[in-house]
């Protein structure tokens, strides 16, 4: 009597995950060709994770990365067939591994790899420009909520120079580890015009973008910078973010479709 399709697929997945040798495997799982199925899916996931975390992979080398990827795949197999987005939880997953191996920068660099993927695949929008802000009547400013561009990603790494490490590797340029200044760094990734670009961003810049993303009106978003305890040239910061295409038009300015 043939198993049902559901039962066959349950046995098949079980045999895929047994990694061979389980006595309960059906006879077909012991054919030489079964290894093709055992390998193909696993390698596709591993290769996708490696492609999506290129700087992490370069920093730790193939053996370390592949071992971590195998664990990740077991704990977090993909649900989405768009493998270019696979690995959303990989940075968090790396935390205990990075601690155990004394790689304090690894998680932060992984967050920047992820930020690149998200910026690359995010929705298109025209960037909101400084002259458009300047054209608003002054009475509109107190209630104005700036909306980060769909492709804008920012990350403040409090302890380690993650941006320098990441951007140098992205440029195929191995940084001189002895010259690294071990202090916090922020990053801004944007894709307002064509491809993803990145620049360093201050802690204030990261905090301001986050306040905007949280829906705070412009004056209150700027007020959050008071808590940072450093002097911030707010006009210069805002001008630079606008220039980098970090914002999309405010929601009441959206052109009707």
């Amino acid at each position: 009597m043939n198993p049902t399709l559901a039962e066959f697929q349950r046995l098949f997945v079980q045999a895929l995950q047994d990694d061979g040798g389980a006595a309960a495997d059906p006879a077909w799982a012991r054919q030489g060709g079964f290894a093709v199925y055992r390998n193909t899916g696993r390698l596709a996931c591993r290769d996708a994770l490696c492609a999506n975390y290129p700087v992490v992979a370069r920093l730790v080398g193939a053996d370390w990365f592949n071992a971590a990827a195998e664990h990740y795949l077991r704990d977090h197999p993909p649900a989405d067939s768009r493998l270019l987005l696979y690995g959303e939880r990989f940075p968090d997953f790396l935390e205990p591994l990075a601690r155990a191996h004394d790689l304090p920068y690894l998680v932060e660099v992984a967050r920047l790899d992820r930020a690149w993927t998200e910026a690359h695949a995010a929705a298109d929008a025209s960037p909101w420009q400084a002259d458009q802000l300047a054209a608003l009547p002054p009475e509109a400013l107190p209630a104005l909520v700036l909306r980060p561009h769909p492709a804008a990603r920012w990350h403040w790494s409090a302890q380690v120079p993650a941006y320098t490490l990441w951007s140098r590797h992205r440029a195929d340029d191995e940084p001189n580890w002895d010259d690294l200044i071990w202090q916090g760094e922020g990053a801004l990734l944007t894709r307002a015009w064509g491809v993803v670009r990145w620049e360093p961003l201050s802690r204030a810049g990261c905090a301001f973008l986050q306040a905007c993303a949280d829906g705070l009106p412009l004056p209150r978003a700027l007020q959050t910078l008071d808590a940072l305890g450093t002097q911030v040239d707010r006009g210069a910061l805002l001008g630079r973010l606008l220039q980098q295409g970090a914002f999309q038009p405010p929601s009441d300015e959206r052109t009707p479709a």
Binding site: G41, D80, A122, V195
Partner: protein, 283 residues
């Protein structure tokens, strides 16, 4: 059937500029939608540019038509929007499964072709065709296992799917050859009863011997040029069918675009020779 599609190539990001500029008559490009189903950005802009110059074929690998769970509605809706946007000449998917309990298994997995499975696949093809509002082509997969429990030989199973759903077929000649080798049959056996009237696209590719088992197991690896015996298989098939859109698949050991173009030109010569003789027969 009159078609503007002649020889096609898999679209590779590495070859974007040459693909865009290539002017081989009848050339078209095939893509996996999984690589393009994003909200925006350079991938879609790039594909728009290619689409403005060449016909596209959307070749899905992940809808799990032989899966017991119906394709996810959100995934179908995303694919439908993508197909509306890019208006591909062809849309296809495999006779395989690749999802299980919400987990994506990035492979084309086999199953016993039972009467039950036939109903499952037919229902999923219906769902897909309804979501897209158009007919899709179903591809014969490569086989690496000799599974017990088939009620249907594959050609008859595919023919029955065509009858029940109105779908068309994508005949992958490399899969025919690899599967025949691995299962101890011959391509001629397989093709004898294949429902050729429903075929709307052909695939050609290179294969490799399994690194562990050698020639005992061939792998549909897409990492080598199409070899002589497959060209012969194509010529023999075209003599029966007349010209069909024919894709050269190449994923691994990617050569220069010029080399792939030569393979496309070779396919085109076979297709146009056959077109000429078919026209003579018609006259």
């Amino acid at each position: 059937m009159s078609t503007p599609l002649c020889a096609g190539l898999g679209l590779k990001p590495e070859h974007f500029d040459q693909a865009l500029a290539c002017r081989l008559p009848g050339l078209w490009f095939e893509i996996h939608p999984e690589n393009y189903l994003v909200d925006g950005g350079p991938r879609l802009a790039w594909l728009e540019a290619i689409r403005s110059e060449h016909p596209l074929s959307v070749h899905s690998v992940s809808l799990s038509l032989a899966g017991i769970e119906p394709p996810d509605q959100a995934r179908l809706a995303r694919l439908a929007a993508f197909v509306r946007r890019f208006q591909p000449a062809l849309v296809s998917e495999h006779l395989a499964w690749s999802s299980w309990r919400g987990q994506y298994l990035p492979d084309l997995l086999p199953f016993p072709r039972t009467h039950e499975a036939l109903g499952v696949v037919a229902a999923n093809i219906d769902r897909l065709q309804n979501a897209l509002g158009r007919v899709v082509a179903i591809e014969n997969p490569a086989h690496y296992l000799d599974l017990p429990g088939h009620d249907w030989p594959e050609p008859e199973f595919l023919a029955e799917l065509v009858r029940r759903t109105g779908c068309r077929l994508l005949l992958d000649l490399n899969n025919v050859r690899v599967s025949a080798h691995n299962l101890g049959t011959t391509p001629a056996d397989y093709l004898r009863d294949f429902p050729l009237h429903a075929v709307v696209e052909l695939h050609l590719a290179g294969y490799s011997a399994d690194p562990r088992l050698g020639d005992a197991l061939w792998i549909d690896s897409h990492d080598a040029p199409v070899c002589e015996d497959l060209w012969a298989l194509l010529a023999g098939l075209l003599a029966r069918t007349g010209p069909l859109p024919t894709l050269i698949e190449r994923d691994g050991h990617l050569p220069d675009f010029a080399e792939l173009r030569l393979e496309a030109e070779h396919a085109r010569r076979l297709l146009t020779v056959r077109a000429g003789s078919a026209a003579l027969v018609d006259a």
